[in-house]
Symmetry: D2
Subunit: 404 residues, 4 copies
């Protein structure tokens, strides 16, 4: 076992960290205050700087202009980018585009790649991923209702989606729709690329979340697909392969999410410590001297560090033994890191007192934007159930004679 980071990675990480601290943090409050949409010019300028430094697209293959990092290294980068809500966007590593790029890269036809993948990878357009439905439990794919009917050379899509992140301003959506309701549960759905200017694609609203409907990249839309017609050539991957592709998309995506959350944890922890050191309770007595704050510092440090190693281990397993070998780990980090994130943010806020609930610090942004961490991609309760069943059946299999 070797917990060291190779010099090349260390050097890359130092550059990225430097950029985040020097170029992003100073503008963060302003950009978050006015919103991503209103800050577009400034964000594009920052992206240009990142490209000029050769740091663009840490998760992209080199073939499409990225750094071609391993999942482990990308995880380390993602942690640094997560330190600021601007990080992933400015480095071209933001969800949902990152996941869409992955599946376009793997399943896209040459025409699809040219039209959608290339400008997306270059940050010239944005995209969205339209899977979750308001009336059906996301955790049960057989309950999906949005349907795509084949009509000659076209698909006609009807249905309603919500929490289609960043649809507002996106050039296209990748839609998950039922193409064969009679097939067995996991073969019913297909992925289809739908340009957002297609008639029948209607952005109903940006959903207001904790009082904030947002806009542009920073939004989650409800979308109505109303007799929405696209050419059959817009199908991404084989018919019926929707769930398989979605699953592949989610796997590495969880590493990214978890490392991003750990970046947020690090930010919140830094702020917790800075606040504890700065806040005077009485002459000569700082918050840092109070034992309860000290316990929070110690407990947060231990939980963050442990969760971080668990996530890096999962990334390493995927890199070295494939996703299948890491399935258990990937489920574990999803709920475990989300829980740690919630605890750390809550304590950082509490240590800031009234200031912690205001928008004078970034903590309030994280607190509301990341409450969904325990919900999206399947609520934690479902992940626990799924991974436990896998673990328990492993024990039964071995008890029945299998050996380890």
């Amino acid at each position: 076992m070797d917990f060291s980071t190779p010099p090349a990675t260390t050097e890359l990480l130092a550059k990225i960290r430097g950029f985040v601290e020097e170029r992003l943090l100073p503008r963060e409050a302003t950009i978050l205050g006015q919103g991503f949409a209103a800050s577009d010019a400034e964000l594009q300028a920052l992206r240009a700087e990142v490209k000029a430094l050769g740091l663009w697209g840490p998760q992209l293959p080199t073939s499409i202009g990225g750094l071609g990092l391993s999942l482990l290294d990308h995880g380390l980068v993602s942690e640094l980018l997560g330190y600021s809500p601007l990080g992933h966007y400015v480095f071209g590593a933001q969800a949902p585009d990152a996941g869409n790029i992955e599946i376009l890269e793997k399943y896209g036809t040459p025409a699809q790649r040219e039209r959608w993948l290339d400008p997306l990878a270059a940050g010239e357009i944005r995209s969205c991923f339209s899977m979750t439905e308001p009336d059906n439990a996301g955790s049960n794919p057989t309950l999906l209702a949005c349907a795509a009917r084949r009509d000659g050379d076209e698909y006609v899509i009807d249905g309603r989606k919500w929490f289609t992140t960043a649809a507002d301003g996106a050039a296209f959506a990748i839609v998950m729709a039922i193409t064969d309701p009679e097939a067995e549960a996991h073969r019913r759905a297909t992925m289809i690329i739908v340009p957002t200017d297609t008639p029948g694609f209607r952005l109903v609203r940006n959903i207001s979340i904790f009082g904030h409907a947002g806009g542009g990249y920073d939004s989650h839309a409800e979308i109505a697909y109303e007799g929405c017609r696209v050419p059959a050539t817009n199908r991404l991957g084989p018919e019926g392969a929707g769930f398989v592709i979605a699953q592949e998309r989610l796997g590495p995506g969880r590493i990214h999410h978890c490392m991003r959350w750990l970046g947020i944890c690090r930010r919140a922890f830094d702020m917790l410590c800075a606040r504890a050191n700065a806040r005077e309770l009485a002459p000569g007595e700082r918050l840092a001297d109070k034992q309860i704050i000290q316990a929070w510092v110690a407990e947060c440090r231990a939980r963050i560090d442990a969760a971080r190693l668990l996530t890096l281990h999962a990334a390493w397993t995927i890199d070295n033994h494939g996703f299948q070998a890491a399935r258990e780990s990937v489920s574990l980090i999803k709920f475990h890191v989300a829980e740690v994130l919630g605890e750390v943010l809550d304590r950082a806020i509490q240590a800031h007192g009234a200031l912690g609930i205001t928008d004078d610090t970034v903590l309030s942004f994280f607190y509301t934007r990341e409450r969904g961490a325990r919900i999206y991609d399947g609520p934690d309760e479902v992940h626990k159930m799924v991974v436990a069943r896998r673990i328990l059946s492993g024990y039964r299999r071995r008890a029945a004679g299998g050996g380890k």
Copy 2:
């Protein structure tokens, strides 16, 4: 011991409950959506209905137009009103006016009563209470910096306050300012009434909290007092009595807060159960059938009920034995009920999945607006410390020979 509610109270509670359910809940989403300020006409109409029904001012003495309830009975009313974010406001029982009325009632001169108390009690004007300062820990009164200098027949106030709730649109503020920095710690400050149109009273901003600066009644202002002059006759109570009065104001206020929080708990619990019953996970399987949801239901029910009895007991103690006898209880409920509130809201949201973080239900409103429950009126950590010291010194006193 007798846990029953007398028939007269039962009848009153039924009326109030009916009004909340039939008149407030149906309009709640709209009013919260457009904000208190924009909904002023509608809110005043609802207030008129409440007055017509003889239900106005449950916490007010009958002498100034209220119901003259005991603290226990008012607690029960407050629980019902807390069920909707509109409740207290429409019934004339909203903070910070309720607390200001109490101290004006007790300490106000005839002129002060006529000018400020009467219209305030009638709901014709609003007020605010200006104590917390941005740069000083609220838990330590000796750190207060805002000062009122006597100059002839006037006080000249200089300083900065924040989290002055509902200052936007208020007719006057009651300001806590240092009048004698040399006095012993708890005799330094004085309460002074400052009409908000006084020159030198400047509302710097409504503080943005979790992305929402609000406005009108639903806001928390930062206020600059800049050479702000008011007549000495605006002093409320004796000079140096600021802390004593603040303490008296906070005591019953905690009962109100806690019972309001318990009303929110009840709302969230109702929503948790309704969601569990309604949400289908698969044909024939509802969320209510899942054991983890069942555990949440059971645990929330137990914690809410227990916290409720603890709070009612504290109210009863004040009613029957005075505030001094209830000091320990009042500290206990502050942090205990706030903790229960946090848990119940979190679980209700989690059970709603993605819906829970949207503004399509009232849960998101409560989640952000009430995060402060563990912070305002002193963070929970301070309350625990204070009450524990009291308990522990009681043990020492008895061990030293005192008996119980």
Copy 3:
């Protein structure tokens, strides 16, 4: 609502508290050190004192020599007795005899009453209750395997039980056995009185629990019923009524348990505070000055007080509205108070450091003896499930049109 205790009860409680503090606490360490069996003479002498003071059998009807208290008042007594592990035994209120007396009192024939109830109520003999089976989940009555076959005027009992508390030295057992395996689930079992000297009643072992097999009253036996024959007249209540009777036995029993646990909480809390006050960490600095200990003190105080009111409320409900009205409450307190007990004991031990895990204080006794609180009478997880289903179906019923 009235939280006061009537003078007569207050006086009784003072007497009992006095006896516990003055007569029991001084001997507790010695008696627990040598065990209940070896301390029999001393315990009987203490019982005689209690009888002489007119305090015997707080839970017994006056008709059989007890105080005839309401469940609420008995709850208050039980809390005081629980302060010492000797309390219930010395006052004739110990499980499982107390529960057996209740059902003998309700269902016993005159002959049964004369032979078993009277000496049991007087403390002249002991009894046990034989229901739990090692191989079957206690939470599912249909899995009971021990069977009683009718053979002429006799029942022949075969099966195995465990956790038959206090069987060692008991005069008789009340056994729960299947008499009609074809009946619907809750009508299959019957209660039968089995003198422990009946051939075929074999005490296999006193089960070693956390390293301690105990003996006499303080033991939990595994019992083999091997062709064990008793006259049919030993049947307690009607055939098939076993579950109904067991349920009635458990209901008030839970109030007793919970109040006893709250007595233990009070003891542990007193010890936590005494330790915090006494332990010096450095010259002039006591454990009581540490903020984490203070937080424990505050949190324990709030949780104990809240759980206590919840339990008293359940007792009051049974007293005033019958057991059916209190079913939900009685389930809630079972797991809620057990949880509070676990927390309070754990913190009291932690505050005592190494001393806390030794037998130099009574905490270690409670820690191991009461770990079962979360398990016996059905594990907490089952109680949560059961009560939640009841609550959730209540919501469905009301939603379907029913009203409250």
Copy 4:
């Protein structure tokens, strides 16, 4: 980063795991039932097998007959040995001998090594470490009272110690005693070797812990040093170096402890899963099908895995960068792993129902024996405080200009 285990280590671990499973587990219940002392012959025979297999002394340098493993590799071994309470003892890696060997190896004179180290390393004698005192908080070294007065060529030791683990039957104790009360706090104490047959060394009692005083290796003694004279040549290391040596002893010891606890976690987790799979609640429904059990399985798995990586990382840091670089990590694992251990054991017991609190499984043994994990070597609360102060002062130093 590389999370793989090298083939040689893998092979060694497989051998040790095989021995634990095949040779130790089958005898565990019997040996624990009769106690270490009564099982001495059998334990020595098992040790002989271990030696014959070349597996003796994983933590010992090869120079004194051990395997000379790195701390990381020894950690992995310790995890396997911790799976059974017999593991460390049978492999010659048991506390407190392991720690004593370390300091004798580093500080022992040739004569000390010959007389005490060699037979100790070979498992021919046992030893104990006498530091903790009953009346003084172990967390504050300045409060130590046991003193060693120099008298010619001898030290005369007077004082009282407790929790001197395994003193019963030990050949010698290493005693921490104050030799210069005037020195600065951390230079006051000295380590002295005291053969247990020295006059004035009196084993007062084996302390009863959770009802079990134990005996032989499995005991914790109270020791009175009463004018106990030993030659000055029995001093271990320089005078005044007691705390430095104790600190060095504790550092790697924490890795051992934590990995042993993780071995216990693994055992408890295996038992939790086996029980869940085996226990039928109703025909066709196992405990493994219940969602709460599934949540426990998932949460325990995540926490164990994360805590394990945190501990291995700390071991790797010591191996590669020295103890000083790992100080923070070593403090973090102490309380973090102890907390995880407590949770996992508690849930494993709860899942076993009544069986879980009996001695029919090894869980009850772990539950009582390892409750001290959160207390010994300094209570968790102290560790949190210490590590937080270090972290917070690091932030202050960097903020003051220092760079990271």
